[in-house]
C-alpha cells in the first residue's frame, strides 16, 4: 500500500484537519467530532441539509458543504457509515429552527445510523426529514432486498435540495424536490482497478490485466459482472445503455455526470463523455448541462460512473443557482 498518510487509523481526523485548514473562511469542524459544517452554521430559519457517509469518497461529502448546498457533512471512517452520535451532533450544529433534512445514500449502515440520529433529534424537538438516494441501476431494485445503492447521483440531490433550502423552501418543499431528483436520477459505474482502505492495507478485489468490473459500487465491493476490458466507446454504450433501459428519457432534457472514481485521468473521462453525448444525441435526448470530473470517488480506484438526471424547469433553475461549496462552485 502506497499512500501519503501518517497513522492509517487516523486518516479521517487528519484529513478533516487539513480540509478545514484549506478553507477556513467557509468551513469549520464541530469540536471533537468528524462533522464539518458551514462556517456560518446554524443559518437561522433556513432548512439545514446534512449528508455524509464513510470517508474515501472525497470531495463527497465535506466538499459540498457551503451556501447553496450542504450545511453539514458527517464523515465516517473510510467506507464505513458514521455513527448516530456524530450525525446527531451535525443535526444539532446546523439546526436553524426550520428543520433539518438528511440526504442518505441507500446503504444499510447509512440508513440505520442516520435514522437513529433522526430519532435522537426528534426526541429533542428538532424536525427532521430525509431522502434515501438509490440511483445505481447496477443493483436490482427490490423491496425484499437492500435495494439499489446511492452513488454519484447523490451530488445532484445535494445541489438541488441545497438550492431549494437556500431559496427559502420549507422542510416539506425541500423533501419534495429531493424526492423528485431521486425519482429522476440513474447511475451506472465500472472499474479498471481496485482501491485500498488505509486501515486494511489490502486491495479491495483483484482484477486481471485484461479485466474490468461492471456495476461497481463506491466502497470497493465487487461489481455485478467481470468482463474483458473494452474501448471507451463500448464502456459508454454499456453504462448509458443500462441507464436508458431502466428509465425512459425519450425527448427529455437531462443533466449528465461523468464521474471519475479516483485514478482515472480526466483525459479518459472526456473521451468517455464524447461517446455518451453522441449516444444521447442519437436517442433525441437533449443535454442541458454536463459535469465531468471527480464528484464521488472510491479512493484511488480506476473507473468511472455515468449519471443522468431528467430535468424539468424547477430542477434546471435549482441546478443552475449559486453554490459556494468548495467542490461545486456555480
Amino acid at each position: 500500500m502506497k499512500k501519503i498518510v501518517n497513522d492509517p487509523n487516523q486518516v479521517v481526523q487528519d484529513m478533516l484537519k487539513g480540509l478545514v485548514a484549506a478553507y477556513p473562511e467557509s468551513l469549520k469542524q464541530v469540536p471533537d467530532t468528524t462533522v464539518v459544517v458551514r462556517k456560518d452554521a446554524p443559518v437561522t430559519n433556513k432548512v439545514a441539509l446534512v449528508s455524509g457517509g464513510g470517508s474515501g469518497h472525497e470531495p463527497a461529502h465535506a466538499g459540498y458543504v457551503g451556501a447553496g448546498m450542504l450545511d453539514a457533512a458527517v464523515c465516517g471512517e473510510t467506507f464505513t457509515s458514521p455513527t448516530p452520535d456524530q450525525v446527531f451532533e451535525a443535526i444539532k450544529a446546523v439546526d436553524g429552527s426550520a428543520g433539518v433534512f438528511l440526504v442518505i445514500k441507500n446503504y444499510t449502515g447509512d440508513v440505520m445510523n442516520f435514522e437513529m440520529a433522526a430519532e435522537l433529534a426528534e426526541a429533542e424537538g428538532i424536525r427532521v426529514e430525509k431522502v434515501i438516494v438509490n440511483d445505481d441501476v447496477a443493483v436490482e431494485d427490490s423491496s425484499f432486498t437492500t435495494g439499489r445503492r446511492g452513488i454519484a447521483g447523490t451530488v445532484f440531490v445535494h445541489k438541488i435540495a441545497g438550492a431549494k433550502a437556500d431559496k427559502g423552501g420549507s422542510l416539506e418543499e425541500v423533501k419534495a424536490v429531493a424526492d423528485k431528483v431521486v425519482a429522476n436520477v440513474r447511475s451506472m459505474g465500472m472499474a479498471l482497478s481496485p482501491c485500498t482502505v488505509p486501515a486494511s492495507g489490502k486491495p479491495s478485489f483483484e482484477l486481471a490485466e485484461d479485466e474490468m468490473e461492471i456495476g461497481i459500487g463506491i466502497h470497493g465491493e465487487p461489481g455485478i459482472e467481470r468482463k474483458t476490458i473494452a474501448t471507451a466507446d463500448e464502456i459508454a454504450e454499456e453504462l448509458t445503455g443500462k441507464i436508458l433501459e431502466d428509465m425512459d428519457y425519450t425527448s427529455s432534457e437531462v443533466a449528465v455526470m461523468v464521474n471519475g472514481l479516483g485514478s482515472t485521468p480526466e483525459m479518459e473521462l472526456f473521451i468517455l463523455n464524447g461517446k455518451v453525448q453522441d449516444i444521447l444525441a442519437e436517442k433525441g435526448i437533449k443535454v442541458y448541462k454536463t459535469f465531468v470530473g471527480e464528484y464521488m470517488t472510491s479512493l484511488e480506484m480506476a473507473g468511472c460512473s455515468v449519471s443522468l438526471l431528467k430535468l424539468d424547469d424547477e430542477l434546471k433553475e435549482l441546478l443552475d443557482s449559486e453554490s459556494k461549496a468548495p467542490a461545486f462552485r456555480i
Binding site: G54, G76, E77, T78, F79, T80, S81, P82, T83, P84, D85, Q86, Y107, T108, G109, M112, N113, M116, A138, V139, E140, F144, T145, T146, R149, V197, A199, S200, K202, S204, F205, G217, H219, G220, E221, P222, I224
Partner: protein, 206 residues
C-alpha cells in the same frame, strides 16, 4: 446458569479477544462479498468497549450492557454498529433492575435484542445476516431447560456455518445475488464469537 457483573464483564473481554484475534479474518470474509471492513469496525468498537468497561465500576449486568451498547453505537459505525448497539441496549433494558441474570432472563434479553435488530435492519431470518445466528440461539435459550453452555456454542456455530449456503438479500452481499452463495456472512461469524465467549464464561461459572 447465572450471569453476574463479573461474568458479564468477562463475556465482553472474551468477545473482545476473539474479535481482535480474528480482525483480519472477519475483514477478509467481508471483503469477499462486502466492503472488507467488518473486522476493522468490530475491533475498533470492542477496543473502545474494553477501555470503557475496564475503567468503570458496575453494580448490575444491565449497566455493563448499557455501556457496551453506547460504546458500540458510537464507535463501530457501518451496519454492524447500530445492530450490535441495538442488541446490547435491548439486553440492558430487558435485564434492568436484576441482581443476576438467569437463563430465563437471558432468553428474554436475547429475544428482545433479536427483535430490535430485526426492526433496525428491516431483516428477517434467512437473509444471510447475523440474524441467522441470533435466531436459533434465542430459540435454544427459550426452549431448553437446564441448558449446557456447550449447546449454545454448537448452535451458534452451526448457524454461522449455515450462512455459507444462503443467498444474501440484506446487507452489501445482497448486491452480489447468486454470487454471495458459498461465502460465510462476516456478521454471523462475529455473532458466533459473541455466543462462543458467552458459553465459555457460563461454563467456567458452573
Amino acid at each position: 446458569m447465572e450471569l453476574h457483573v463479573a461474568q458479564a464483564l468477562m463475556w465482553i473481554e472474551r468477545t473482545n479477544e476473539k474479535i481482535q484475534e480474528n480482525k483480519e479474518y472477519l475483514s477478509a470474509l467481508d471483503q469477499a462479498i462486502g466492503d472488507g471492513d467488518h473486522g476493522i469496525n468490530m475491533a475498533r468498537g470492542f477496543q473502545a468497549v474494553i477501555e470503557k468497561t475496564s475503567s468503570s465500576e458496575y453494580e448490575t449486568v444491565s449497566d455493563v450492557l448499557k455501556d457496551v451498547a453506547m460504546t458500540l453505537m458510537a464507535k463501530v459505525g457501518g451496519a454492524s454498529g447500530p445492530l450490535y448497539g441495538t442488541a446490547f441496549l435491548k439486553m440492558s433494558m430487558s435485564t434492568k433492575g436484576k441482581e443476576s441474570v438467569s437463563q430465563e432472563d437471558l432468553a428474554e434479553a436475547v429475544r428482545q435484542a433479536l427483535e430490535g435488530m430485526k426492526q433496525r435492519g428491516k431483516a428477517t431470518e434467512g437473509e444471510k445476516t447475523l440474524i441467522d445466528v441470533w435466531t436459533p440461539v434465542q430459540e435454544l435459550l427459550e426452549q431448553s431447560e437446564d441448558l449446557q453452555p456447550e449447546e449454545i456454542k454448537k448452535t451458534a456455530k452451526d448457524a454461522m456455518e449455515a450462512t455459507k449456503n444462503i443467498m444474501a438479500t440484506k446487507g452489501r452481499a445482497a448486491y452480489l445475488k447468486e454470487r454471495s452463495i458459498g461465502h460465510l456472512d462476516a456478521g454471523s461469524v462475529s455473532s458466533y464469537y459473541l455466543f462462543e465467549s458467552l458459553a465459555n464464561v457460563l461454563e467456567e461459572g458452573n
